[in-house]
C-alpha cells in the first residue's frame, strides 16, 4: 500500500502530521491527523494551589492565554462558590471582548485571508500576511497591526500583561478600571467596530464578489453535516464569556442545552494509540468513528458552529450581518431559526460576524457607567471543593474542571480545550479533501491548497490542543511506493 506523509517541515517538527494511505488503485484508503505532543497540564497542575490556575493554564496557549485565564478564573468562582459582582463580570467580559477582536483579526488577515485575498492558486511563498499586505495595500496592513496593538494595550491594562494575563481571582479581578482608562478603551472600541465593518466589506468585495470563491465555499468537498456547539445567553444569542452550552444537530434542531458543570454527562474523550491528542464526542449520540451525519457524535465548535448553534447575535450590527450570512448562503428559516450552514469555508465569514459582535460588545461595556467601580477584589473565605468553568474560546468551547482538598490544593484537573473539540472534524475534512483530489495515485499541487484550506478554516490552535502554533504548518507531501522509494515530493506553506 502506498502512503503519503504530509509532514509539517518533516517528521521532526513537533506539532501535527498527516498520513494518507492509498489503496492499490491509488485512491485514498484512509487519512490520519497525528498530534505528536503532550505537556501534561492535567497532571502537573495537581498539587498546586487552585487560585494559581489562571496563571498556570494560560501557558497552555500563548495565542489565546486570555481564554484559558478566563475559563480558569470562572472555574475558581465555582470552586470557591462565589458569585462575581456585576462589575467584575463586566470587567472580565470587556477584557475578553478586546481579546476576541485581536484574535479574530489575526486569523482572518494572517491565516485565513491569504486563501481568498491571494487566491487558492497563488504562489505559496506569497501566501502569508506580507503577501496580503502587498495585495491590498500597506495601509490595510498597518490597520491590522494597529488593531492588534490597541487591543493588546487593553489586554495589558486590564490583565496586567500583554501575553499571559494575571488578574483573575475567585469571584474577582485584581485590576479595576479608572475613568481615564475607560475613555481610552471606549475610543479603541469605536475603532474596533469600524475596523470590523471594514473587514466585512473587504470580505464582500474580495470573496462574495468572486463567483469562483462562492462556488468553492459551497462545494461538497468542504461540506460536513455534523453537530454544532456554542455558548448562548438566555435569549439563545451568542455569548463568549458566559451562558449555557447549546448543541444543535445537522438538521438544526437543539440536541441539548446544559450548564458547563454538566459537561461530563455530555462529552466523552477517546484515546487513539497514534496520537497524543484525545478525541471528544457527544455522549448523547455516541462515537461512530470519523463520519458525519445525525448518528455520529462528532461535533464542531468554531465560529460557524456558534452561529449555527445560536438563534442570533446580541448586538444590532452583528445581527444584521448574521442574517445576511444565512440568507446569502441559502439557509431557510425553520420555526424562526435559520437552518445550519454546513460549508466549512464559510467559517471565515462567520468569524468576521463574531469580530463585529466582539467589537460592539466591547463598546457597550466601555460605556457602562458601572464599569469603573473600584470594588473588584472580594475577600473569599469559603472552603473550596470542586469547580467547573467554561468560556467560548475563539477555537471552541473551553472547559476547566478542578477538584481540591480543603486547603485549595488541586487533587484533580480536567481540561477540554477549544481545538480538541474539532479534532475529529478536522481529520474528516482532511480525508474528504484528499479523497476529492487523489485519484489513481495522481497527486497534484492543488491537493495541498485544498487540504490546507480544509484544515485551516478551523483555525486549529495546536497550541491549545497540543501546544504548537495555530495551523501555521508548512506542509510537505511525500509520496512513496510500496518499497518506500520516493515517487514525488511537493511542499508548500500552510497558513
Amino acid at each position: 500500500m502506498e502512503r503519503i506523509t504530509i509532514d509539517p517541515i518533516t517528521r521532526l517538527e513537533g506539532h501535527g502530521k498527516i498520513e494518507i494511505f492509498l489503496n492499490d488503485e491509488g485512491n485514498v484508503e484512509n487519512a490520519y491527523l497525528q498530534i505528536p505532543e503532550l505537556r501534561g497540564f492535567e497532571q502537573f497542575s495537581v498539587g498546586r494551589p487552585a487560585e494559581e490556575m489562571p496563571r498556570i493554564t494560560n501557558r497552555i496557549c500563548g495565542v489565546c492565554p486570555e481564554a484559558h485565564h478566563m475559563a480558569a478564573t470562572k472555574a475558581l468562582d465555582a470552586l470557591f462558590d462565589v458569585e462575581p459582582s456585576s462589575v467584575v463580570k463586566k470587567l472580565r467580559e470587556l477584557f475578553y471582548s478586546s481579546f476576541y477582536v485581536t484574535d479574530h483579526t489575526v486569523h482572518f488577515y494572517a491565516l485565513g485571508g491569504p486563501d481568498f485575498v491571494l487566491g487558492p492558486d497563488a504562489n505559496p511563498a506569497e501566501r502569508n500576511i506580507l503577501g496580503v499586505i502587498h495585495k491590498v495595500g500597506v495601509d490595510i496592513g498597518v490597520q491590522v497591526i494597529e488593531c492588534r496593538k490597541r487591543n493588546h494595550e487593553v489586554i495589558k491594562m486590564l490583565g496586567g500583561r500583554g501575553v499571559h494575563p494575571v488578574a483573575g481571582l475567585p469571584g474577582g479581578w485584581s485590576k479595576s478600571l479608572s475613568e481615564e482608562e475607560r475613555d481610552l478603551v471606549r475610543e479603541y472600541a469605536e475603532k474596533n467596530v469600524d475596523f470590523a465593518l471594514f473587514s466585512l466589506k473587504l470580505f464582500d468585495d474580495l470573496v462574495l464578489g468572486n463567483q469562483a470563491y462562492v462556488d468553492l465555499i459551497l462545494s461538497d468537498t468542504f461540506t460536513h453535516e455534523t453537530y454544532y456547539m456554542g455558548t448562548v445567553d438566555d435569549k439563545n444569542q451568542i455569548n463568549f464569556y458566559d451562558g449555557l452550552i447549546r448543541v444543535t444537530g445537522p438538521d438544526g434542531k437543539e440536541l441539548v442545552k446544559y450548564p458547563a458543570k454538566d459537561y461530563a454527562q455530555h462529552i466523552a474523550e477517546r484515546v487513539e494509540p497514534w496520537s497524543y491528542l484525545k478525541f471528544p464526542y457527544l455522549k448523547d449520540v455516541g462515537w461512530k468513528g470519523f463520519v458525519d451525519g445525525p448518528d455520529s457524535g462528532v461535533y464542531c465548535a468554531t465560529p460557524l458552529s456558534r452561529l449555527n448553534a445560536a438563534d442570533g447575535m446580541a448586538t444590532p450590527k452583528a445581527q444584521e450581518h448574521y442574517e445576511r450570512f444565512y440568507e446569502t448562503l441559502g439557509s431557510k428559516k425553520i420555526d424562526g431559526r435559520y437552518s445550519p450552514v454546513h460549508h466549512r469555508l464559510a467559517t471565515h465569514w462567520a468569524r468576521l460576524v463574531e469580530l463585529l459582535y466582539a467589537a460592539e460588545r466591547m463598546l457597550e461595556l466601555a460605556q457602562d457607567p458601572e464599569i469603573t467601580d473600584p470594588n473588584v477584589r472580594p475577600v473569599v473565605t469559603n472552603t473550596p471543593t470542586e469547580g467547573i468553568g467554561s468560556v467560548e474560546a475563539p477555537r471552541g468551547t473551553l472547559t476547566h474542571h478542578y477538584k481540591t482538598d480543603e486547603n485549595g490544593i488541586l487533587t484533580d484537573v480536567n481540561l477540554i480545550v477549544g481545538t480538541t473539540n474539532n479534532y475529529a472534524p478536522i481529520a474528516m475534512s482532511i480525508k474528504k479533501a484528499a479523497e476529492g483530489l487523489i485519484k489513481n495515485g495522481e497527486v497534484n499541487q492543488g491537493l495541498l491548497n485544498q487540504v490546507e484550506m480544509a484544515f485551516r478554516n478551523y483555525d486549529p490552535c495546536m497550541s491549545c490542543a497540543t501546544h504548537s502554533l495555530p495551523g501555521q504548518m508548512p506542509l510537505e507531501v511525500t509520496i512513496k511506493d510500496k518499497d518506500g522509494r520516493l515517487i514525488k515530493s511537493i511542499s508548500q506553506f500552510l497558513g
Partner: protein
C-alpha cells in the same frame, strides 16, 4: 551573512505555548523592520521552510537562532542539536528554553503519573481498553509513529551549548526589540555583542528595583493566599503576606504583576548573583518569618514555626514555578510532588 548581505534569522519553538511568537509580533510595527533587516532562514510561524532545508544549510549558516520552548520530548531535543549545529548564535528565548518554565512543573511528577491522569483517570475519558499513545503503532493501513515523551523536562542548555539567554514568559516586546537592535548593530555595524553566556533583554538586579511599591523592613507573621486579603495598593505585597517572588527574580519586565496587585511569579528567572531561584526565595522569606525567638522552649519554637510555614501553600510549585528544570536538583525523586 548571505549573498544579499542580510543576516539570517531563525526562530523555532520546541515545547512552548506560542506566547514567545506572539510577543515577537507584539513589537508591532517594528516587525516590518525585522523583515527588512533579516533574511528569514527558518521561522515556522511566518515562513515556509522545512527541516530538510535547515539540514542542507552549511554549519553556522544561520546567524541568530531564537529558540523557544522547553525540551519535552525526543523531537525537541533532536531539533535543538540540529539548530545548534546550523547557528552561529543560539539564543534560549523565553523562560521555557532558559529554565523550563511552566512545562517543567512536570518535573514535580513523573511520566507514568502523567499518562495515567491524561488517558485513564479524567472524568470525561472513554478509554475502556486503556489505550495509550505509542511511539510506534499499527493501524490497518500501516505503521504510525510518535516522538518519545520524556520523564523530565530539560532546559535548552541542558542539551546543547547556549550563547545567550533571553528570559521572560514571554519576554516583554520592548526587551525583544532592544535585543534585536543590539544583534543588528553587531551584525551590520560590527558593534560588540554581550559576553557569551550572558542573560540579555533584562536587568541584573531583582525586580524590587523596578517595583514602585513602598518597601519597609520585612517582618511577616503569616502568609495569605491572593484571595484571602485586599492588599494595600502602595505597600510591598510581600510585607502584606502575599507571596511575591520579586525579591528573587531578575528585573526587566517592569514589575507588571505587582502593579496590578498580584505577586510576581518569577518568570524572568533568578537575578545575576543567584543560581537556584527557588532555594533563594525559600531562604529569604523563611528568614523574615517573624515567629519564635531564642527565649522559647525548643518544642514551642518548632511548632510555632511549623504553623507559620504551613501558611505557604505548595513551596515547590510556587518558588520553582518557572525554574524547576534549571534548579539545582531539576526534578523530584519520585511522583510525590504531584501528590
Amino acid at each position: 551573512m548571505t549573498e544579499n548581505g542580510k543576516p539570517k534569522l531563525a526562530m523555532y519553538w520546541a515545547s512552548s505555548c506560542g506566547g514567545c511568537e506572539i510577543s515577537v509580533l507584539n513589537i508591532h510595527e517594528h516587525i516590518l523592520k525585522v523583515d527588512e533587516v533579516f533574511d528569514i532562514a527558518f521561522f515556522p510561524c511566518i515562513a515556509d521552510f522545512k527541516v530538510k532545508d535547515v539540514e542542507s544549510y552549511p554549519d553556522g549558516y544561520i546567524d541568530v537562532c531564537l529558540f523557544n520552548g522547553a525540551i519535552r520530548n525526543s523531537e525537541n531535543e533532536e531539533m535543538a542539536h540540529l539548530l545548534r549545529k546550523k547557528s552561529k548564535v543560539l539564543v534560549a528565548f523565553g523562560s521555557c528554553a532558559y529554565e523550563g518554565s511552566i512545562p517543567a512543573l512536570s518535573n514535580l511528577t513523573t511520566k507514568p503519573a502523567t499518562l495515567d491522569t491524561v488517558y485513564f483517570d479524567n472524568p470525561s475519558i472513554d478509554n475502556p481498553d486503556r489505550v495509550l499513545p505509542q511511539i510506534s503503532s499499527q493501524v490497518p493501513e500501516g505503521n504510525l509513529t510518535l516522538p518519545e515523551f520524556y520523564n523530565t523536562v530539560k532546559s535548552l542548555d541542558q542539551v546543547v551549548d547556549v550563547d545567550y539567554y533571553l528570559p521572560g514568559c514571554p519576554p516583554e516586546p520592548e526587551q525583544i526589540w532592544a535585543v534585536l537592535q543590539v544583534v543588528v548593530g553587531a551584525l551590520t555595524e560590527g558593534q560588540p555583542l554581550p559576553p557569551a553566556g550572558a542573560v540579555v533583554g533584562a536587568g541584573t538586579t531583582a525586580l524590587c528595583d523596578e517595583c514602585t511599591r513602598e518597601k519597609r523592613e520585612k517582618t511577616i507573621e503569616r502568609f495569605y493566599r491572593p484571595y484571602e486579603i485586599q492588599p494595600d495598593p502602595d505597600q510591598c505585597l510581600l510585607e502584606q503576606g502575599i507571596v511575591c517572588l520579586g525579591i528573587a527574580t531578575r528585573s526587566g519586565c517592569g514589575a507588571l504583576c505587582p502593579s496590578v496587585g498580584m505577586g510576581c511569579r518569577g518568570c524572568y528567572g533568578p537575578p545575576e548573583g543567584v543560581y537556584d531561584q527557588g532555594a533563594k526565595m525559600l531562604s529569604a522569606i523563611a528568614s523574615v518569618l517573624d515567629v519564635g525567638d531564642e527565649s522559647m522552649e525548643e518544642a514551642e519554637l518548632e511548632s510555632l514555626i511549623q504553623d507559620a510555614v504551613a501558611t505557604i501553600a505548595d513551596p515547590s510549585g510556587t518558588f520553582y514555578r518557572f525554574s524547576m528544570a534549571h534548579s539545582i536538583l531539576r526534578r523530584v525523586k519520585n511522583g510525590k510532588g504531584a501528590a
